[in-house]
Amino acid sequence: MEKVETLEYTYKDFASDQEVKWCPGCGDYAILKSVQKVMPEIGVKKEDMVFVSGIGCSSRFPYYMNTYGFHSIHGRAPALATGVKLANPSLSVWQITGDGDALAIGGNHFIHAIRRNVDLNILLFNNRIYGLTKGQFSPTTDLGHKTKSSPQGTIDNPFNPGELVIGASGHFFARITDTNPKMMQKVIKSAAEHSGTCVVEIMQNCVIFNDKVFSDYTAKENKIDSIINIEHGKPMLFGANNEKGLILKGFKLEVGIIGENGVTEDDILIHDAYEEDNTMHMMLAKLKMPIVNGVIRAFEDETFEIRLKKQVEEIERTSKFKSVNDLFTSGETWEIK
């Protein structure tokens, strides 16, 4: 994409003329606002941005962005985004999806997009429920949770999106909450700057069908002790006075309190998001209490479209067919007079 130093956009330039129709109080509003605020900062022209989506509440998102947009069909947006990017690699392509769209009906496309590492930014709005179809459980709904389609509680094990992304050999995974706009903007910007498939999981509150599902983490009284905001190169500390941190005990991550049980500042792990080996990233993604927010993994590698470009150049150099006409007249031919 054409990088330009300064674009005189404000967030308002990214708001379309369409009325936003999510439920009052929905977490999606905060995400939309954050994305619109980040876009002027990523150095991409508005006409070079494409927002694609599947089906679900979150998938209405492209209608509200004053860029190119495509609201497609349930679960298939990763394939659509891939087609857009391969057709025109100079575009900045964003996929907006939800936990049902990405992890249930679109699970196959999701993992294969991640595996290929096409330069896409996937924002996964995880509210652990189906909203648009009015309240059935999703692949991320907690075990035992009662919903319209699980009146006795769910009996299927939920996915942890981070585990799935890293398990599918993902190169970039980040997690944020819809209640922390500053952090959201910072992380979304990191995704924009990373080449390859980026997945940003946003813990998003559905005020109608799954209200307060994340309150263990996001409620004022809880967040200090239940969320660790991590940054590359910094010790993974949290708590009111940063007195707590992640330490490694055997093969397990644990919370250590500095000054207790012989834990010192030196025992606190330093976050390395750029490490190729994903073992530690997987452990961070899996941690439930406290939960890790921020860019967990950001390993840069050659993207699919760069490899494609290299192949094209190689064939251009070696092929005996320089044009389609060459090909048509190749091999054994005969003339009839």
Partner: protein, 613 residues
Amino acid sequence: MGTTAVQELEKVVIKFAGDSGDGMQLTGTQFTGTSALLGNDIATFPDYPAEIRAPQGTVAGVSGFQVHIGQTQIYTPGDQPDVLVAMNAAALKANIGEVARGKTIILDIDNFKRKDWEKAGFEEDPLESGLLSDYHVIEAPITSLTRTALQDLGLDNKSITRSKNMFALGMVYWMFSRPLDYTERFLKDKFATKELIYKGNVKALKAGFNYADTIEALSSASTILPADMEPGLYKNIMGNEATAWGFLAAAEKSGKELFLGSYPITPASEILHEISKYKHFGAKAFQAEDEIAGIVSSIGASFAGDLAITTTSGPGLALKGEALGLAVMTELPLVVVDVQRGGPSTGLPTKTEQSDLMQALYGRNGESPVIVVAAKSPADCFDMAFIASKLTLEHVTPVILLTDGYVANGSQPWKIKKIEDLDTITPHDADKNMMNWQPYERDTNSLARYMVYPGMEGYEHRIGGLEKDGITGNISYDPKNHEEMVKIREEKVQRVANYIPELEIHGAQEGDLLVVGWGGTFGSLTTAINQCEVNERSVGQAHFSYIKPLPKNTAEVFGKFKKIVVCELNNGQLVNYLRAELPQFKYLQYNKIQGLPFRVSELTEEFVKILEA
């Protein structure tokens, strides 16, 4: 060549049959290539099991390749072989029913031991039972002669035995006065790094040729003189290859890059293979994770400005249905190729059928019209792929191109086309000077909307699968707007009739019987009609390349004949579509659903029956 006088034949049908590991497809294509270079007209038909290596020596594992060559125009691979080459007892068992009495059968006698014919399912020795008494049988020890010929080369036993197909080919080359140089060149290229195997194959080929000369395999060697074909430069082409090339040509001609999103499926995969080779022509072949991702990635590429296509067979088309509806709804150019095979479900993956027509026309939720066209022969796949691309880009609506296993795998001489000689393709793009462009503003003639692509400043817009306002494209649930939009999308497809050729009548221009067909049955039907003409019947033929919309003069053509019979390799699909579209006519139907093409003889028999009824 021996001293025997060479007899001239008008045409001949040869079938090579053996175990699926015996190299019969290669043998057949070599005979085809050699004959093509001699200027014969040709049609071929490979017939192989769905299993890669079915049990050796059994009828299920028999692989065959039939080739029809002639000095007159050849439209089909032929009903019945004049020469059958059977490399083992199972190949004889599988094919003997196809060979008319008095014809020639070459047997590799080394594979007719008791265990061989028992495994093939014969109850008694076919060589002794009298089964072959009415045939001209050549009992040739092909395997052992190949071994003897190659024993001093230092090749391993397996490689020696694998060369026996070249021995058999050499024999047939002698019988029909074919030169060996085409195959020698081919072998040199194929085994460029395996000198010994190359030598072994050539030696087997020559040994077979000389052996046939020595035993005077036929009472005299025959030849088929060059066919009387339109002047020009030709090459032999397979249907799937021609389809791929048609798209390459269309991309070049439209000034667009080609994007193929596809998932492997028999019998369509060769199109994916072929396009994958030419990334440097701006042709991106993307092997997706499934059929759905294949079409959806293409829809994304179309939105971003490529000529977008997806290739599949019947089961894949079923999976693509929802996404094709999205392309209809958003009104994006897209070509879907369905290389039809026997269904439903997995059905008969390697056998041909025309049973996806209803699926192509109606197999989606909602009112979801698309243009439907069909290819009638291997070489016609090039033209129809090109035309499908032209229609989709100029009318901004999806097109389904139907081919089938028979035309996809068959081959035929193709008069080589040059890019500069092809029709123009003008994508229906918005003019940069268009004032106040709106996403769903239309051309008043074609009703096509004007395309803009991401990257164009000032044209940012959103599209999607929800019903949209007829001008702005914004979501609209307005009842009247929906009804209007449904009708506009249908009308847009119907208006394509103003841009396609009229239906032609071949044979009698009016009279007793009109034979109607579509797609891959063209060759069989044409040959059958030609024979009826000889019988001085007033029989005409109308063959549909354009099915939706129908050519404008269809009713006029139908009205010229007393009877109409619609012939299809399905249970009656075009016929029911015609009954719905043009109910004023009475339609007879003739259907075959055996995974096999029509035989000319069964068609002429049927036509005579109808004429005499």
